[in-house]
């Protein structure tokens, strides 16, 4: 080990002292540089900075962009802005807040609800933020406060744009709502580097399309550099960068159709999703009951919140998007596709369809919904009469491994990718799914039993899908396997250029199934509405062609040997009524999935809604039972409304 350098203490010392001097000189030079900078700022630029600081303080005022409008496919406005005065307080600038509020109450009508809301916002905000005490002042109130403004430091009357959802409950589960930016939103904006763009903005999309398309709707904040005097009043504008208004959303949804669907539902609970199979555009998207989104914009008061939260009908839940239900017999068309594609049955094979089905070596009876059975049937007839025993046997013969892959391609059991947040994925049962789902349980619960598949064959068992998935699946089936991603927004219209950005204009994928199989299943579904079919009543006097499938989803299991007796069961335990359909059969323009909760047989409750809906969509005829109630603007004036809003 020979050192690289010969050690020489004197040389080392000299070397070290030299370095010390170099470092010292360097530091002194850098400090001189700093002093030079100070001289530049404080002597040469003194006048400039002094002017900025002392007499005319420059402030930068954000100019808020107008939030984009949301309109339906015909240009009817679903979410709009209107201007109104608000009374706002800045707590840090007020000597005695309670006294000020008491004084203000003499000038404007401040309700206990206003005050409660203000206290709540006060707790969530910082001292120097401007907090609204009363929104939507009348002209007279605004004038009165403005005339007395000198008495109230920290009190401002501001003209602001407000969001309004004119169709309230009707669009609540589609549009969602905006609300005040809270701590969590603020942190997210900071993380995403968007807080500058939200300077002066108090609102942000919280749920629904308002949240998903937030970046489009919000726009780009502008700012104005103004000179202010010592009292903070603006004297003149120096520079102005205008804001860029938010982009408008044009939906595929037809608000008239949405209202027809809503009226057909009446007071019943459930969900309806209608899709244009040719584009994937969502024509109607309903979850009943809804709620009034306008309540949430300025923070909901505790009374209304409690009322919504404690309602046993759960109006806040988006059933179409997040409700998962066993599909019942509406699953059978997909089963039929799986059977044909895997060659598990021929198109003309006739098999027994008795009153009940038993597994070899078991006494358990899987009963048919028709207590006498249907004798025997081929696949098409089994769909038409909805024979359970036929499909029990079919499922048993096929096994889950032949069913799940085909059915899964229709999008069942996974999120469809619609432009809404929080979509439920549902359950398409497979062996792997069961092992994972019950991983924490004993082996006997995790294991896949051959018998598990039997009830899956008729859409019961572990099957569980959202109404949106069912509508999407039926639309794909109706469109011969050309699948689109369902989307509520059809185009995003740029506020400046007027150019549109189309959403999902191209097919997402094409299912690799035989055309003749599609034709066969669709014809079978068409026969459901013909004499002998479970929904034959619906087919009476039909001016166009329609295909459908009824379904009844069990909510509770009925004991062996017992009979289902609706009147004996509490309402929440009665069966759900399903109907899926599309029309016209030759070139489908609309596909729908409808579930009416606890309403019994599919043919009884859900199916008539589909007929009314299709009648309106295809022939323009408003169903007689509801024609008097429609509130939405008629089609011919819709364009005028859109023009007026620009």
């Amino acid at each position: 080990m020979r050192p690289t350098r010969f050690k020489n203490p004197q040389a080392e010392d000299g070397q070290f002292q030299l370095r010390l001097i170099v470092a010292y000189v360097f530091m002194l030079l850098m400090f001189c540089l700093l002093i030079a900078r100070f001289v530049w700022l404080q002597v040469y630029q003194y006048e400039h900075f002094s002017t900025l600081a002392q007499n005319n303080r420059i402030s930068l005022l954000p100019i808020l962009p107008n939030r984009g409008l949301i309109m339906d496919r015909n240009g009817v406005i679903l979410a709009q802005n209107y201007s109104a005065y608000t009374l706002e307080l800045v707590p840090s600038k007020m000597p005695d807040m309670n006294a000020t509020i008491a004084e203000l109450a003499k000038l404007v009508n401040i309700t206990p609800r206003d005050e409660k809301l203000f206290k709540k916002l006060l707790g969530e905000s910082k001292d120097f933020e401007s907090i609204p005490l009363k929104v939507k002042l009348t002209e007279e109130e605004a004038a009165r406060v403005a005339a007395n403004a000198w008495r109230f430091p920290g009190v401002q009357v501001k003209a602001r744009l407000f969001r309004d959802y004119p169709y309230k409950e009707l669009t609540s589960h589609v549009l969602g709502y905006i609300g005040r930016i809270n701590q969590k939103d603020q942190e997210r904006l900071d993380d995403e580097d968007k807080s500058t763009n939200y300077k002066g903005t108090n609102y942000i999309g919280k749920t629904g399309l308002e949240a998903v398309y937030e970046d489009d709707l919000h726009g780009q904040v502008g700012f104005e550099e103004v000179e202010t005097d010592s009292g903070g009043r603006a004297i003149r504008s120096l520079r102005r960068t205008p804001p860029v208004n938010g982009n408008n959303l044009k939906l595929a949804l037809d608000i008239r159709l949405q209202e027809v669907a809503d009226k057909l539902f009446g007071n019943r609970r459930g969900a309806l999703v209608a899709i244009d199979p040719q584009t994937g555009g969502v024509l109607a998207f309903l979850s009943k009951p809804g709620f009034d989104p306008n309540l949430f914009i300025d923070g909901i008061d505790s009374q209304s919140w409690a009322a919504l939260n404690n309602d046993w009908q759960k109006p806040m839940i988006n059933r179409a998007l997040r409700g998962t239900y066993p599909p019942g017999s509406t699953f059978k068309p997909f089963m039929a596709m799986a059977a044909l594609e895997t060659h598990s049955i021929g198109m003309h094979d006739v098999r027994p369809a008795p009153a009940f089905f038993t597994l070899p070596g078991s006494s358990h009876q899987f009963r048919d919904s028709n207590k006498n059975g249907n004798g025997s049937a081929n696949l098409a007839k089994a769909i038409q009469v909805s024979s359970d025993t036929f499909f029990y046997k079919l499922a048993w013969d096929m096994g889950i491994d032949k069913i799940a892959p085909t059915v899964g391609q229709f999008g069942l059991g996974r999120p469809t990718g619609i432009d809404l947040d929080g979509e439920a994925s549902g359950v398409l049962p497979t062996k792997e799914w069961k092992a994972k789902r019950f991983a924490r349980y004993k082996e006997e619960f995790r294991r896949w039993y051959p018998a598990d598949v039997v009830s899956i064959g008729i859409g019961q068992g572990f099957n569980s899908y959202t109404p949106l998935q069912m509508a999407n699946g039926i639309a794909t089936l109706a469109n011969d396997g050309v699948a689109y991603k369902p989307h509520l927004v059809q185009e995003v219209v740029d506020a400046r250029s007027g150019k549109s950005r189309l959403i999902a204009a191209k097919p997402d994928h094409v299912l690799p199934f035989k055309q003749e199989n599609f034709e066969y299943v669709k014809a079978a579904m068409q026969s459901v509405l013909k004499p002998g079919g479970t929904a034959w009543r619906l087919g009476v006097g039909l001016p166009y062609t329609m295909a459908g499938k009824t379904g009844t989803a069990q909510v509770v299991a009925i004991k062996q040997g017992a009979k289902y007796n609706a009147s004996a069961l509490a309402e929440q335990y009665r069966d759900h009524s399903w109907f899926v359909a599309f029309a016209p059969v030759e070139k489908p323009r609309i596909a729908v999935a409808i579930i009416v909760e606890n309403a019994g047989f599919g043919a009884a409750a859900a199916a008539p809604i589909a007929r009314g809906l299709f009648d309106y969509y295809i022939t323009g005829k408003v169903p007689g039972s509801i024609s008097g109630d429609l509130k939405t603007v008629p089609m011919d004036t819709a364009d005028d409304a859109a023009a007026a809003s620009d």
Binding site: M1, P3, T4, R5, K7, E12, Q15, F16, Q17, R19, L20, A23, Y24, M27, L28, M30, F31, L34, I35, R37, F38, V39, L41, Q42, V43, Q45, Y46, H48, F49, S50, L52, A53, Q54, R57, L60, P62, F128, D190, D191, D193, S195, T196, K199, V221, F223, E225
Partner: protein, 366 residues
Amino acid sequence: MTLQPHLIKRLWLAIKAPLDGPLMIILGLIFALSLVVLYSANNQGLDKIDNKLVYTLLSLTIMWLLARSRPQSIMNFAPPIYGIGVVLLLAVHFKGVTVNGSTRWLELGITRIQPSEIMKIALPMMLAWFFQKYELSMRWWHYLVAAVMIAIPCALVLKQPDLGTTMLIAASGFFVLFFVGLPWKVILGGMIAAGASMPVVWNMLHDYQRRRVMTMIDPMEDPLGAGYHIIQSMIAIGSGGPWGKGWLNGTQTHLDYIPERTTDFIFAVYSEEFGLVGNIVLVILYTLVLSRAMMITAGAQTLYGRAMAGAITLSFFVYAFVNMGMVAGILPVVGVPLPFVSYGGTATVTLFVGMGMLMSIGNARR
């Protein structure tokens, strides 16, 4: 009765003995000045003054304990402290608390610590210890080992991400190398290489870091966002003029225009109220600290002493220069407090620890 003054005198002598007189006087002046500024910056509130007195007293105690220890004994703690520092940084990486997108803190139940702060002292200690140990058998590859010792904490802190602290830690390590005799041609070569790699580094930076650099070049680019701090603090300094607006009369300060005005931007408050004259006084005080520290460094007897004292001195300079440069708009905004003036306990403890070690090295030559 007659014993009492005698006792006090003895106690005074015992306390005074390990401390460096000139350094204590200059630091005392800076401290007095910092209280004056803090009172104004905190809108004449006394709460922060109280806190500052408490943590300064605590820091002084630590400094005193270090000053009366032999450098040799302090040096022996270098490997364990460095080791603990690295472990804590790893802990931050896996279990740290994330604030504003950076993971810098470790939750310890009662308090949060920032392990990167420990590294500012631990890294130069470790390097100085290492070179002392191999002083007589130094070969070129010892520099490679040292480079790895620098790279480990730097990589971990950079990952948090905390570019400012990374550069401070790297600088403190480099200073040790500089004083143990890293050849000039390596230094110059390194500088050229660093200059050449700037575009690569630029691509590796986070968006917010790039924005800070861009903001420094043109603050008006983003006047509502990132440029706001810089514009407002430059207005404060510039409008202070040659003589300042006078104590408690800073309009920028008292109208809430200066962000972080008790911590990182306290210099803007000082500069607005005391003007160019005040700035020069502060820079002179800092220069005096540096000069005295340089003298101690020059008199150090061991390689460890020289390297450590030199690194502490230069690091101190970097803190002061970077903070004032950032507030004056010639350096990007990085979270570096103004030494001995900014409000904040952690940074103060680190500074006094450095001073204590410096005094310990100074005492060893007597």
